[in-house]
């Protein structure tokens, strides 16, 4: 099977500013990958390119061998950094919406997670707190049976207990054909869940390694290494 993500000399500029420069990156299937870098380093740009929301300046990007488009959107489940759902909708209506949209959406799974996190499906989105809204979005994204999950800052706004639940959901959802790409600043919370990490700095990939290799070679956690590499 071809790699789930393959980028070759991927470059993206925004009116003169280079957001991503010559990124070569291959992600295999069955991995949980952390995309780590300081603010403005290019994490969201990469994720948007994967999802076809941006078009590369030069270079190529392939998802399971395909260019981003309708076919890849079927197999990529994307959690954007900002919400895009209409806030007058009830949680149950959003679930119906997703059910209509995606063949691989499992509403039973979504309802099970809602009940685990004690979220009332009858509530309208606008009545939910910021953190609860984030949980709902993550539930929607994780309830699809996708090949690639792109989670842009999925745990930033939720409390530590819910964070644990979410990480547990990611682990138990794991299947050997699917890869999860998580961008985050909360490294210490998630590093034991990750197979590998990508460090991205000023639009270039500076490190792509397994978590245990980093611990073995450096004798420190990914979190400590990050603080060292990106020291201000």
């Amino acid at each position: 099977m071809n790699p789930i993500l393959e980028c070759k000399s991927l470059t993206k500029r925004y009116s003169g500013f280079t957001a991503l420069s010559n990124v070569d990156l291959t992600l295999e299937r069955g991995r949980i990958v952390g995309l780590l870098g300081p603010n403005g380093s290019g994490k969201t740009t990469l994720i948007k390119l994967i999802n076809g929301l941006l078009v590369p300046e030069s270079g190529s990007i392939r998802i399971a061998g395909m260019e981003p488009g309708v076919e890849t959107k079927k197999i990529v489940s994307y959690l954007p950094e900002k919400t895009y759902l209409a806030d007058w909708m009830q949680v149950s209506q959003v679930i119906e919406f997703f059910q209509d949209f995606y063949e691989n959406f499992d509403s039973k799974k979504a309802y099970a997670m809602l009940s685990d996190l004690r979220i009332d499906p009858k509530k309208r989105l606008k009545t939910l707190s910021k953190g609860t809204k984030e949980k709902v979005q993550l539930i929607l994204v994780m309830s699809r049976k996708a090949d690639l999950y792109c989670l842009d800052e999925p745990i930033g706004g939720v409390d530590p207990a819910a964070r644990d639940y979410i990480l547990n959901t990611i682990i138990t959802n794991y299947n050997e054909n699917a890869t999860v790409l998580i961008s985050t600043h909360l490294i210490s919370d998630i590093e034991k869940v990750l197979d590998e990490v990508i460090f991205i700095k000023d639009g270039t990939v500076t490190l792509h390694s397994s978590v245990d290799d980093i611990r073995l070679k450096e004798g420190k956690s990914v979190d400590s290494l990050f603080r060292e590499v990106f020291k201000c």
Binding site: D164, N168, I171, K192, V193, V211, D212, R215
Partner: protein, 123 residues
């Protein structure tokens, strides 16, 4: 059993040590069936690939074995487990001796103190 994963050392090594400790303490008995990789990973809060790596390593050490159709088991070979126990005991002793020497005791003094401590424990 509580899985405590520290943040410095490779995760798979810590998982491996944790399972070894459970075999030594008798929490996992010879011939016991192990939970699935997925369940063990969820329980420890780690990546299933990392758990798989720890189990593969334990298999290489012949502490566990895989039955193709029914899963993974703790070895029934008491000899292997006994060796593991002894190795673990030696590690503790070496660490102890090392610490004692660092604070300035020679071998005779250590033996003397140890005998004394054992006597007092018996009382």
């Amino acid at each position: 059993m509580q899985w405590n994963i520290d943040s410095e050392r490779p995760v798979y090594i810590q998982l491996l040590e944790h399972i070894q400790a459970n075999i030594i303490s008798g929490n996992f008995k010879p011939g016991d069936k192990l939970p699935s990789v997925r369940d063990l990973a969820a329980e420890a809060g780690v990546n299933p690939n990392t758990m798989q790596r720890a189990l593969t390593e334990l298999e290489r050490m012949e502490l566990i074995y895989t039955n193709r159709t029914s899963g993974r088991y703790i070895t029934s070979d008491i000899g292997v487990i006994k060796k593991l126990k002894e190795r673990s005991a030696m590690n503790i002793i070496e660490e102890f001796l090392d610490k004692m020497k660092k604070i300035g005791f020679n071998e005779e003094e250590i033996l003397e103190l140890l005998t004394k401590a054992l006597k007092e424990m018996r009382k």
